[in-house]
């Protein structure tokens, strides 16, 4: 109770020094707001990244038909193997418990033409199941189906980049174009997916049925890739082992001429990268908060010097050293806490503004807000202790006689 009454008086004394109080509160507020904004931006970026990885497909495993070497941190296919077949894809989904979907895939670069426009892009052959594994959905028109695949129809779904380059603003659905020299009919345009983690434009592709691709366009019997969907994210590891085992068995006696890529590992790597970025940003913001703390230190020290006689008077009226210490400490905490609250509000507002202006995706996180507020209090405590202890150490007789 006594503490509250002393604090109430402190409030009115701080309120009397409006400008100085405001400045020190602002110092902390800016720090807290910076912390919160940075964390919000970091989280926003991370969520967008996760969304992007999810867009590749859910619980995805990719089998490639050649040993891959890691070059500059990325898997590079250096040989061409013709030993992976659609039967392998079927065997995997038949025998591996952790795999729920499987789709063979082929792809090749092609020149596409429509009237006088040409565009070099990647043509991908997928069965209907492959569209589902890759989470490929159409924005307009329709996707192809199993029947299209079975009768090898020359139908194509365009990525938005290809659609834009060949058809401009026209609606491509129902129109025809050439892949190489083979005419195809556009049945749909996919939803934009942006660039993937490697910087490849995922919208720059023409997707056609697998059978059409293998028999009418590429004229091949082997496939390059098998897309696999595991039962869950957690099962990816087990699924990968299962798939490896099965493929090795089917290649008894031969060298391992395939690679299996695991989405979980990719995810973990990306997360790690974004986390270290977040740490860096967070520490920069933390420095801003420390600067705010130094502001509190200065204000409190000035306060102690200026209020020396007040301290002497309070001691004469019966305040113990502890009372003086607690008073000055709580004043520092008050400044820091006020700055914290203001900073959280400002940080949230700034985050909303950044999102609204389209500068960056932000995701406000209340734990980060609470952390910023707590950190502000800690800063207040750390930088308030020294001035408070100095105030408490003053001899009452001397303090009363100070100028």
């Amino acid at each position: 109770m006594r503490f509250l009454r002393v604090l109430a008086l402190s409030c009115s004394l701080l309120a009397a020094h409006k400008l100085r109080t405001l400045l020190s509160v602002l110092g902390v507020a800016v720090g807290v707001a910076a912390v919160l904004l940075m964390v919000s931006v970091g989280r926003g970026a991370e969520e967008r990244l996760l969304a992007r990885i999810r867009a590749m497909g859910t619980n995805l495993l990719v089998v490639n038909a050649a040993p891959a070497r890691i070059v500059a941190g990325r898997a590079r296919q250096s040989e061409i193997a013709t030993t992976l077949f659609p039967a392998d894809a079927q065997a995997i989904v038949d025998h591996c418990r952790w795999i729920v979907r499987s789709a063979p895939a082929v792809s090749r670069p092609y020149l596409t033409t429509r009237e006088s426009r040409t565009w070099k892009t990647t043509v991908v052959g997928l069965p209907e199941e492959g569209l589902r594994i890759r989470n490929l959905a159409v924005r307009s028109g329709r996707a192809f189906d199993a029947e299209d695949d079975r009768v090898r129809r020359r139908v194509a779904i365009l990525g938005p980049t290809v659609a834009g380059n060949l058809f401009g603003r026209e609606d491509p659905v129902g129109q025809s174009f050439l892949v190489g020299r083979v005419p195809f009919e556009v049945v749909g345009v996919t939803i934009p997916r942006g660039v993937d983690a490697n910087g490849t434009d995922q919208d720059d592709a023409v997707i056609i049925p697998l059978e059409t691709a293998m028999r009418r366009l590429f004229n091949v019997t082997s496939i390059q890739t098998i897309l696999l969907e595991a039962a869950s994210l957690e099962a990816l590891g087990a699924a990968e082992a299962e798939v490896r085992g099965l493929l090795r068995e089917r290649r008894r006696g031969h060298r391992e001429d395939f690679t299996v890529q695991n989405q979980a590992l990719l995810l973990a790597a990306q997360r790690e990268a974004s986390r270290s970025m977040k740490r860096l940003i967070g520490s920069v913001a933390g420095v801003a908060l420390l600067v705010g703390g130094v502001g509190i230190l200065a204000v409190m020290l000035i306060g102690v010097r200026e209020r020396t006689r007040e301290i002497g008077l309070r001691r004469a009226l019966g305040a113990r050293r502890r009372d003086v210490l607690v008073q000055f400490l709580s004043e520092a905490l008050l400044l820091a806490g006020g700055g914290g609250v203001l900073g959280v509000l400002a940080g949230a507002a700034a985050g909303a503004a950044v999102s609204a202006l389209g500068l960056a995706d932000t995701r406000l996180s209340w734990p980060a807000g609470a952390f910023g507020f707590g950190f502000a209090l800690a800063v207040g405590l750390v930088f308030g202790i020294y001035p408070a202890a100095r105030a408490a150490r003053l001899e009452p007789v001397r303090a009363l006689r100070a100028d």
Partner: protein, 241 residues
């Protein structure tokens, strides 16, 4: 009320040892109004600090209202200051950013228990020094004499055993000084024990007893047979516009 025996205070600065109080003994009874007089450098301030529990003697005995003021720790001494002593300073020492009421309430902030009727008691104390109509003013909006009266109200609000005044008229003009001295005399008539410290013989003559200090000792201790009447003096001073 005050029992002081063989009080000694020495300061040591490096090699030199200065004896400021050289064995002081005196008593002040309950309801007495005593003036402690002496020029600066006689140890008067040191004695005042010890009387007020702001400082401790090197040796000797000091009982205030039966409480030992020497062999106690800092916290206990703080509590005793709060309960037993009301200070009035030459520089008033009011909190300028708080109003009169809050200034007078200040001692209760450090009391053992915040009394339920603290606000009313503070109002009564302010009324007793004639400033009821200024209770929500800031000290800077008051004259020096009014400020000192606020300080007196603050000193009295906790009903201390001893009112200790250090040159209370030192910063005031004749009229305001007389006003303050008149309040002291009235308080004394009501039974309040007062020790007033001053270098001014004319001020000291308002008390019922004068103790004169010189060179760390009390050299004179006499009753004032006919104390000066501050009320009468106040009436004699014309009100200056």
């Amino acid at each position: 009320m005050i029992e002081i025996e063989n009080l000694v205070k020495t300061y040591e600065t490096g090699q030199t040892r200065t004896e400021v109080l050289k064995g002081i003994s005196f008593r002040v009874g309950k309801g007495e109004y005593a003036a402690l007089m002496g020029a600066s450098g006689t140890g008067k301030s040191t004695l005042l600090n010890i009387l007020g529990g702001l400082d401790k003697p090197t040796s000797g005995r000091y009982l205030l209202d039966g409480e030992d003021m020497v062999n106690v720790n800092d916290d206990t001494l703080s509590r005793l200051r709060n309960r037993k002593i009301g200070f009035v300073f030459q520089q008033f020492h009011l909190l300028d950013r708080a109003n009169v009421h809050r200034n007078v309430l200040l001692p209760f902030l450090y009391a053992d228990g915040y009394p339920a009727d603290a606000r009313e008691r503070a109002e009564r104390a302010v009324a007793a020094v004639g400033l009821a109509d200024r209770i929500s003013y800031r000290p800077s909006q008051l004259s020096g004499g009014q400020q000192q009266r606020v300080a007196i109200a603050r000193a009295l609000v906790g009903d201390p055993a001893l009112l200790l005044a250090d040159e209370p008229t030192g910063n005031l003009d004749a009229r305001n000084g007389a006003e303050v001295l008149a309040i002291f005399q009235r308080l004394n008539r009501e039974g309040r024990t007062i020790v007033l410290v001053t270098h001014d013989a004319a001020v000291a003559e308002h008390a019922g007893r004068v103790l004169v200090m010189r060179d760390g000792r009390i050299v004179e201790d006499r009753k004032v047979t006919q104390p000066r009447d501050a009320e009468a003096e106040l009436r004699a001073i014309p009100v200056t516009p």
